[in-house]
């Protein structure tokens, strides 16, 4: 590992200041479970490391007043998400997505902020958070801005964060409908997703058997987490029959843009998108 300057700021303002001063050559560290791997492998050699774990502004899972939205601080660990009663009660698909990740030792270190900002196409929390219509709350020297999480990712390892900007929290709207996350990986634990699928809808009309505000989000099958918008339209175009679900699943597979790699081929990933989207939609319908 190349030498680096080390900072452990106590406030958000101080952190942004250091990050801006290094003008892109500084890296923040939260859990370090993505960053340190890259640094150990020599794939990354920042001039400075900024430990953001002492920033109180980035902590906590809270229900916001008035909107009742849930605010999840960027430093919230995967294990905290897995165990939080508030998340279990209202966003159980998010808790179960966290439960599919890594091991308890890694989940105690790894943060939701790191999972988003590392911006791996396979990041497990991305599809479900986007399906739940989450917003990224970002802060930097110029102040706070909010970006729909769907627009946060710009490419593998890339996000909309500018120099000196930090992810403060992700905010999830009050959950009214149903949601599910399905991860497909060869091993049950300690493996990243070959395909991940998050599905959520906000309303369901039992008479018409029709779902409203459906969001289908695919992980690990495109440069960024991907909304399968045509498949969503198909789902919302009429009653949720088995045939419509089959059609939507096929459309989602066509919308995906996977690559061949050690974990799976293009053909296999497409096929698994179809299988998992179908399974996800059927799961939601059957739980009505």
């Amino acid at each position: 590992m190349k030498p680096f300057d080390y900072f452990s700021p106590k406030t958000l303002a101080e952190a942004s200041e250091v990050l801006s001063r290094y003008n892109g050559d500084a890296k923040m560290i939260a859990g370090g479970t993505d960053l340190l791997l890259k640094m150990k492998a020599g794939r990354l050699a920042p001039k400075a490391i900024v430990n953001i774990k002492r920033l109180a502004e980035l902590r906590g899972i809270t229900q916001l007043p008035i909107t009742n939205n849930l605010s999840i601080g960027a430093l919230t660990t995967l294990e905290e998400i897995k165990r939080s009663p508030l998340i279990h009660q209202h966003y159980s698909a998010l808790a179960s997505a966290a439960a599919t990740m890594a091991s308890v030792q890694i989940r105690n270190l790894a943060t939701v902020g790191g999972n988003m900002c590392n911006a791996a196409p396979s990041a497990d929390l991305a599809p479900i958070l986007i399906a739940l219509n989450a917003v990224a709350v970002i802060n930097g020297v110029k102040g706070e801005r909010r970006v729909a999480l769907e627009e946060f990712f710009t490419g593998p390892g890339k996000s909309v964060l500018g120099v000196g900007e930090l992810l403060v929290s992700v905010e999830v709207p009050k959950q009214e409908g149903k949601s599910i996350y399905i991860k497909h990986s060869p091993r049950e634990h300690m493996d990243i997703a070959v395909v991940g699928v998050g599905v959520a809808y906000r309303g369901f009309n039992p008479l018409a058997q029709q779902a409203a505000d459906v969001r289908i989000v695919l992980g690990a099958v495109a440069p960024t987490p991907l909304r399968a918008k045509k498949a969503e339209e198909e789902v919302m175009s009429g009653s949720l029959t088995k045939e419509r679900i089959e059609r939507a699943a096929k459309i989602a597979a066509e919308e995906s843009k996977p690559i061949d790699d050690v974990r799976g081929s293009v053909w296999y990933r497409r096929k698994m998108v179809e299988v998992l989207v179908r399974r996800g939609l059927l799961g939601l319908v059957n739980s009505n």
């Binding site: 452990s8 370090g32 270190l109 300690m190």
Partner: protein
């Protein structure tokens, strides 16, 4: 020249003050500065769990943690849970139930099991398998280890 970092760490109940290179992992500092060699260096990438210690009450992989990030924190290693004149109940159970062979993974297993039993005092087999999913063992095939951890409270 690398600017050294002044690290304050509570290790097994004792306050330690160290000057370290900020690049160093918690595992490296424990083993080489504090001579606590119970936590092992296996994969050095968070996959094998041989380096598991308890940081502020939670099991973590110490190879994937910068020591500097732990300034002011408390660490418990396998040396800290082992009584001077015997064994911790988890260690005893592993010995009695044949959950140990070469021993390389054992210290990590012990720490992960202690953290697990701390949060779930009466775990199911599934809880134990889940709680030890981040600890690789190449000798035992896991069955005996899982049984030993399940049996701790019954002994």
């Amino acid at each position: 020249m690398v600017k050294k970092f002044h690290l304050t760490l509570n290790v097994n109940g004792e306050q330690k003050e160290l000057l370290i290179d900020p690049r160093r992992s918690l595992l490296d500092v424990l083993r080489n500065d504090l001579e606590l060699r119970g936590a092992h260096r296996g994969c050095d990438s968070g996959d094998c769990g041989a380096c598991t210690v308890i940081l502020n009450g939670k099991a973590i992989t110490s190879c994937m943690t910068l020591a500097a990030d732990c300034d002011g924190d408390s660490v418990i290693t396998v040396e800290g849970i082992t009584p001077a004149d015997g064994l911790h109940p988890v260690q005893k159970s592993l010995v009695e139930d044949g959950g140990i062979q070469c021993g390389f993974c054992t210290t990590g297993m012990v720490m992960a099991a202690i953290a697990l039993l701390d949060s779930i005092p009466h775990p199911t087999e599934e809880d134990v398998r889940e709680g030890l999913a981040g600890n690789l063992c190449r000798c035992t095939g896991y069955k005996k280890i899982v049984e030993a951890v399940m049996n701790v409270e019954r002994k």
